[in-house]
């Protein structure tokens, strides 16, 4: 099945998706990698308010290549980064915030349980940064630029961003894990 969804995402939007479905996103996605995840959780622990909204958000595991011309930021290239680096911090993030979609590449480890009933993992083709840049129309804001360009949180306005493949759905199905388990079986047989 193919879906065209708008942000902010509602719980019902993501609960209808099955692993293997194709999704196109329109609206705003927030980039966040290692350092941003760590800071979000730190600020939560300290009871501080975040400078951006995570309710219904789509988080994009991406450290974009940006360019500032006459004070205005634009995207040069913005493909996904390896999502697994955020695996350990993700269950905690989802416990405190109603993030509805994680967009990245390569899959994640041991997060399917924490996604159940509330959030999906969407895979974008790794390395396709020039292709992705085409669906990013505007860069309204950047937060935490002190973390450096790749680690900052960029608000990206996207139109029909995709195709994204549902890698982990809200029912606990994880495409990446099942493919890897089959591969491990085939390796062990040799």
């Amino acid at each position: 099945m193919e879906y065209h969804l708008n942000t902010p995402l509602k719980k019902e939007d993501v609960k209808q998706l099955d692993a293997g479905d194709i999704v196109y996103l329109t609206g705003t996605v927030l980039t966040a990698r290692d350092e941003a995840h760590a800071r979000i959780l730190e600020m939560y622990e300290e009871g501080l308010e975040l400078p951006f909204e995570l309710e219904g958000a789509a988080i994009y595991h991406c450290g974009p290549l940006m360019q500032q011309i006459e004070g205005k930021w634009s995207v040069v290239a913005a493909g996904p980064t390896t999502s697994d680096r955020m695996s350990k911090m993700t269950p905690n993030l989802l416990k405190h915030f109603n993030v509805r979609a994680l967009v990245g590449k390569g899959g994640m480890n041991n997060v399917a349980e924490s996604l159940k009933g509330k959030c999906v993992y969407l895979a974008y083709t790794g390395g396709c940064a020039a292709l992705a840049a085409g669906s990013i129309k505007n860069v309204p804001q950047v937060h935490w630029l002190d973390l450096g360009m790749p680690e900052a949180v960029w608000e990206l306005e996207v139109v029909e961003f995709g195709p994204l493949i549902v890698g982990i759905d809200t029912k606990g199905n994880d495409l990446f894990t099942s493919i890897k388990e089959k591969a491990r079986e085939s390796f062990s047989k040799k």
Binding site: L65, G106, G107, A130, I179, A183, R184
Partner: protein, 279 residues
Amino acid sequence: MTGKITYDAVVKATVNTIKEAETLLPDDVIKALETAKENESSDVARSQIEAILKNIEIAGNNSIPLCQDTGILIFYVEIGRDLHIDFDLKGAILEATRIATQQVPLRPNAVDPLSRSNSNDNTGEGLPDIKYDFVEGKQLKITVAPKGAGSENMSVLKMMNPTELKSIDDFIVETVLNAGGRPCPPVIVGVGIGGSFDKAARLAKSSLLRTVNDMNDEEKTILARINSLGIGPMGLGGDTTALAVHLNTSHCHTASLPVAINIQCWANRHASVILGGKE
């Protein structure tokens, strides 16, 4: 280019070569991806390779980097023995890196390993990594290979026992299996066998510069085993987990068997320029 090689000429040529490497993939890599697309039996896998080929086209047409991870820059410099270089060659390469960071542009990726503070110009202590070699003749050849972290992070080195020779293949296949979708497959698997702890890693990395389809029977056999795993493009399943396996060897200590595996994503970026007179 003929005549005396100058500092400025090296800077200019290096900036251009960095731009070429970041925006255009070598033809042999594109051909291998096209062939993989034809041979894929999975629809999802084909869609991933189609996206990759479309991305290559857009990056080339618009002269923008193929991937936002423009990597750290690895340089291979071959210096003709008859050349007289009376300027700061390393300085020229560093300056070219800074200029390219602004002009291409490149994502500033170089950070201090402990404080994680970003230099913002892709240089820093030990970066870019420059390897020098002396060759016959009076030419200067500069090759740049931008290396992204997604695939680099999946690389492994093992000091094996000499009697474990037969399990080298298993080690290679299992390393690709453990990496799964994380290094942006279809990957190119560079393997260095022999040498020493560090030399094995260098052999593995330089093997990534080989033409994709340049493989002997042993390499093809390992490749077939990797592709039978079914991990597929981006780990979403399929027939193409790797495009190539390259084994580079070197003599080593009789008590040693170092094996290094350097994983390279599908964007096997590299470009070269030659400066100086003909032979």
